[in-house]
């Protein structure tokens, strides 16, 4: 059983394992080129779709793995930490996040990688992100109604669509393949940013 389900996420072994998993996480982000803000933002100018390719491939690999291990009875996803769906703050938060992403050139995880690779803009971005977090906390009492608008509890796509987990996982795979093919067409003939 996983450490979260056992209430052991604060244990020394969980902290050590988190650090080791983090090392692999940072390694793959950097290998993909995500220690570069120009590489990350070039998708928004239709020049390089690595962000989409890496992210969707990762989602496909992890969701297939979870579906497979679940079918074999080796894991139970309902024992894992799953964020609740709250529609309004997640949609508005996503829109604001997207604006900040293309302005700032980073997201939080990639900025940590960029900082470790010597990018001064990543350091400034992270400082801004800390100010933004504190700003949200300062306004949180006033935002509490907004933050609970559209609250659905833990809500999965299979529940929304009325389909099995396997079918939805297959749809995600097909969506990813379609997105890869579509983006390859869009990017053809355009030089990659920064090359």
């Amino acid at each position: 059983m996983n450490l979260y389900a056992q209430g052991l996420l604060d244990s020394p072994q969980a902290l050590l394992l988190s650090a080791l998993i983090g090392i692999a996480f940072g390694f793959w982000l950097e290998r993909a080129g995500f220690g570069s803000s120009r590489k990350l933002t070039s998708i928004f100018y239709l020049r390089d779709f690595a962000v989409l390719q890496v992210m969707f491939t990762a989602i496909v690999a992890a969701s297939l793995g979870l579906a497979l291990l679940g079918t074999l009875g080796l894991v139970d996803t309902t024992s894992m930490y799953r964020m609740e769906t709250v529609l309004l703050p997640q949609v508005v938060g996503g829109l604001v996040f997207g604006v900040g992403f293309v302005m700032g050139g980073w997201c939080p995880g990639t900025a940590l990688v960029g900082l470790a690779a010597g990018k001064v803009d990543a350091l400034v971005f992270l400082f801004g992100a800390m100010l933004g977090s504190l700003g949200f906390a300062a306004f949180f009492p006033a935002l509490s109604g907004f933050q609970s608008t559209g609250a659905c509890g833990v809500l999965t796509l299979p529940e929304v669509l009325g389909l099995s987990r396997g079918t939805v996982t297959l749809l995600v795979v097909l969506l990813a393949i379609g997105a890869f093919a579509g983006s390859a067409k869009l990017v053809r003939g355009r030089p990659a940013a920064g090359s």
Partner: protein, 181 residues
Amino acid sequence: MSDSHFASAAPGRPSPFWNPYLAGVGLGLTLLLAYVVLGTGLGASGAITRVAASGAHAVAPAAVEGNAYLGGYFADGAPLRHYLVFMALGVMFGGGLSAFAARRTKLAVERGPRASIGMRLGLALVGGALVGFASRMGGGCTSGQALSGGAMLLAGSWGFMLSIFVGAFGAAWFVRKEWQA
């Protein structure tokens, strides 16, 4: 820049980035491992918020402990003793090691050819503030919400992810001078 596609870089030159599908599989298996072992996905913004809260706590302890959002971090007195903080330290270590091995470590302000350093750093600060604010509003970032929740097939995580792309594509034209030739 470093994403040239020479299979074997000359000594001293940065190595090419890896194939995005290969990196994606590696990232996906890392996420799967996190779910199976830890029981949670990957995350990054939570650590940033905790470091910020600790910094603010050093200046104004009563205000931070009394804050409805941040107060809980200080219930056990150790807001940084959290798995996401250790994961973020790992991300920096792993990313830094990878960049160094590929000869990509370089002190730089990365920007488009038409952008001044002042413009780039100013937009990095404002963009960072928006991302920090929005991560708390949406309950995570591209790692914790979009990637981890996306793989768990959570409805709100997919809504958050699609909204990120809409927001970023919508704003890209306005900051094109920061990135584009």
